[in-house]
């Protein structure tokens, strides 16, 4: 099942890397941007199943991204990429509503597993919601 992923990072090379990994290893579609202020616009234009965002960006940091995304759709999991060595901020993002975090540098398997788990979680959450609505 093809899902649409939004990836935010102010480092274009990092975007390229993540996009390459995901396109090469998963069936999912990817939208990338290095401008976190575009999120609302992009979310209005696309239906994303997952948002992957860097923690430290110019203009808007990962924590704000979590808020913005969840305000639009609380069922979209947000995965935050943080540098190794800032474990405290990693725990902080989880407390603030991120689904998970990935520490840089990462192995591609780590990224792929996290993405799959996040999408799985979203599917289950969505089903639960549907069931409850009935």
């Amino acid at each position: 099942m093809t899902e649409k992923l939004l990836i935010l990072d102010d480092e274009v090379d990092m975007l390229t890397l993540l996009e390459t990994i995901i396109r090469a290893k998963t069936p999912h579609d990817v939208v990338v941007t290095n401008n976190p202020l575009e999120i609302e616009e992009l979310m209005a234009a696309h239906r994303f199943s997952l948002v992957i965002s860097d923690l430290k960006m110019l203009g808007r940091d990962g924590l704000e991204v979590i808020d913005v995304v969840h305000r639009a759709d609380p069922t979209i999991p947000v995965v935050i990429i943080t540098a190794y060595g800032s474990l405290e901020s990693a725990q902080e993002v989880v407390r603030r509503g991120a689904y998970d975090y990935i520490t840089k540098p990462f192995r591609k398997e780590q990224v792929l597993i996290t993405i799959e788990r996040a999408l799985e979680w979203r599917r289950i959450t969505a089903e639960n919601l549907k069931l409850r609505e009935r």
């Binding site: 480092e11 390459t20 190794y84 060595g85 540098p105």
Partner: protein, 601 residues
């Protein structure tokens, strides 16, 4: 460096200066003591001179009185008729009215000088015959120029002998007949003989000097113009020549000073003061320094050469002992005050230095901690920045590796990129760990257990490096603050450093645990090349390493320091470098002390 030398020397300089000041004060004190003594001595001697003057005046008055008696007697009409009973009874009246110890007898010599009526203290008058025509006294008296005058001279030898050799003097005056009450004023008067008082000179001198006191023990003595003692507390001296009597009593002493005083000053009619060395004072014997004040007694107004001299003497010790004891007391008090100040100053300096040392040590620790903290923050930032590009490099390398057929040159090269990238990651991880030491102070460890674990881990490596490993672990140690992983890392870092130091020729690694008060210590000691003195202060700095480039990150000790400090402990180091003490004694010992956890925890 100069200020350090100065700081080290400062206390010594202080002590030297203080001692010099003390010596100076002491010398000034001695000087002032000397001056004080001189002043007091002069003052005292001045008093002695005053006393001598008084005594001389008394003696002179007494002699004047005797002269007057003689004159009065000479004018008596009873004397006109030589040898008559009236004359004898008149003489008796005079003899009775004058002190026995002064006037011994009265003589009336006839005009011819052939006959002399003598009345002595027995009260019986007798007549002596024998020509006195050549006697100097009689010759003087017969001269018209002598009329109305009085001559003082030594008593004739036979008379002296009759009185046991006592120093006697005579007062003689010519007698003129028919002069009546006018003292031979008329030219018609006729020389009718000589009236003579025989006086006990020593009696007169003794009478006034006997009870004279200078100070508490000083005394007076009198000599005549020849230097014969007329009075002296030492009865045996009386009548003897002072120049001879003194050396007889104590030949060991030269008496140059007193002899010079007597010869040049006393016998020449001067008054004054001085000092001399004597051989005794009253009952005390031995060399005694004495002070003397002296004054002449002009015994014959007509002949200035005839004079006695009164001396008042006292031992110097009498004056100076008093001054000395006062000064000694003052010295003791001053010395005590100075010593108390000194002791207070020294202990203040010591306390200050101790405090400074503690403060410095504390400052060094705080300094190091803050340096580490700021460096930690810096490295955290650096780690973050490097992780980004590193993630990209490693990520693409990973992707490319998948697309590249294995074991081709391109694949090999990508592998190298990946390996080096991972090495970067390792360094950054270390930096990160250093920046982010867990704050879990609650966690405790069994230090011995961690030591055993780490030793088991490195045992084989040590064997291959020819390093003998000794564990000296005290059993029954309490648990310590600090998480086991952290402590393991600290031990591993210390052992790694020890291995590095002993790599060239092997050695012994000793790990020792001990309980010290409320701390548990572990010491890692090696027999390696040691740490240079100038490097000791920097070993805990991040990135400080003496290893070859690429062999060490220079983070091991700073990470260890951080871990131990977080646990509330301390790392200290002692090291002797082989260039400084030789390879046999060189080595390093790191001691980690950690707070022991209370037993009930």
């Amino acid at each position: 460096m100069r200020s350090a030398t100065f700081r080290r020397l400062a206390p010594f300089v202080g002590v030297v200066v203080t001692v010099l000041l003390l010596v100076l004060a002491f010398m000034l004190g001695l000087l002032s003591l000397g001056k004080m003594r001189q002043v007091v001595t002069e003052e005292f001697n001045g008093q002695q001179l005053v006393l001598a003057r008084n005594l001389a005046a008394l003696l002179q008055q007494d002699l004047d009185f005797l002269r007057r008696e003689l004159t009065v007697l000479n004018l008596s009409p009873s004397l006109q008729d030589g040898g008559s009973a009236a004359m004898v009874s008149r003489l008796r009246v005079t003899l009775g009215s004058v002190q026995e110890e002064e006037l011994l007898e009265i003589r009336r010599i006839s005009a011819s000088g052939e006959e002399t009526v003598v009345l002595d203290r027995s009260g019986v008058a007798r007549t002596e015959s024998g020509s006195l025509t050549h006697d100097p006294g009689f010759v003087w008296a017969r001269s018209p120029a002598s009329r109305g005058r009085i001559l003082l001279s030594e008593a004739p030898r036979p008379v002296q002998e009759r009185y046991g050799g006592r120093p006697l003097v005579t007062l003689s005056t010519p007698h003129y007949e028919g002069t009546g009450g006018q003292a031979g004023a008329g030219p018609a008067a006729r020389f009718s003989g000589v009236l003579v008082f025989v006086l006990d000179a020593s009696g007169i001198a003794r009478r006034f000097t006997e009870d004279a006191r200078s100070g508490s023990t000083g005394y007076a003595w009198v000599i005549d113009e020849k230097g014969t003692f007329l009075a002296h507390p030492m009865a045996s001296f009386v009548g003897k020549n002072a120049f001879k009597a003194r050396p007889q009593r104590n030949p060991a002493i030269g008496f140059e000073d007193i002899n010079a005083i007597m010869r040049d000053r006393m016998l020449t009619g001067q008054e004054g003061t001085g000092s001399y060395l004597s051989g005794w004072h009253r009952q005390a014997t031995g060399p005694i320094h004495k002070l003397i004040g002296f004054c002449p007694v002009h015994v014959d107004p007509d002949r200035p050469g005839r004079r006695w001299s009164v001396a008042v003497v006292a031992p110097v010790s009498e004056v100076q002992g008093l001054v000395g004891s006062l000064f000694v007391r003052q010295f003791v008090v001053q010395g005590a005050i100075v010593l108390a100040l000194l002791a207070g100053g020294v202990s203040l300096i010591r306390m200050e230095r101790r405090w400074t040392r503690l403060k410095k040590q504390r400052e060094r620790e705080v300094n190091l901690s803050s340096r580490l903290a700021s460096l930690g923050m810096l490295s955290a930032g650096v780690a973050h920045e490097i992780n980004n590009p590193l993630a990209i490099i490693l990520g693409f390398t990973d992707l490319l590796l998948e697309e590249t057929p294995p074991n081709t040159p391109a694949w090999e090269h990508l592998k190298i990129i990946e390996r080096q990238g991972l090495a970067c990651k390792k360094i950054v991880e270390n930096l990160g760990r250093f920046a982010r030491i867990p704050e879990q102070r609650d966690e405790t460890s069994d230090l011995n257990e961690e030591v055993r674990r780490v030793l088991a881990m490195v045992q084989n490596t040590l064997l291959t490096e020819k390093i003998e490993c000794r564990a000296d672990l005290q059993e029954g140690l309490p648990r310590v603050m600090g998480d086991p992983q952290g402590l393991q890392q600290v031990l591993l870092n210390l052992i790694t450093n020890a291995r590095g130091a002993m790599r060239r020729s092997g050695g012994t690694l000793t790990v020792q645990t001990r309980r010290v008060d409320d701390q548990v210590t572990v010491t890692v000691r090696d027999t390696g090349h040691g740490i240079r003195r100038q490097d000791l202060g920097r070993i805990f700095d991040p990135f400080f390493t003496t290893k070859a480039p690429g062999e060490g990150t220079g983070l091991g000790l700073s990470i260890s320091h951080g871990i131990v400090e977080k646990a509330g402990g301390k790392i200290t180091v002692e090291s002797l470098h082989e260039d400084e003490v030789g390879a046999e004694r060189s080595g390093t010992a790191f001691t980690v002390s950690l707070p022991a956890v209370a037993e009930n925890r």
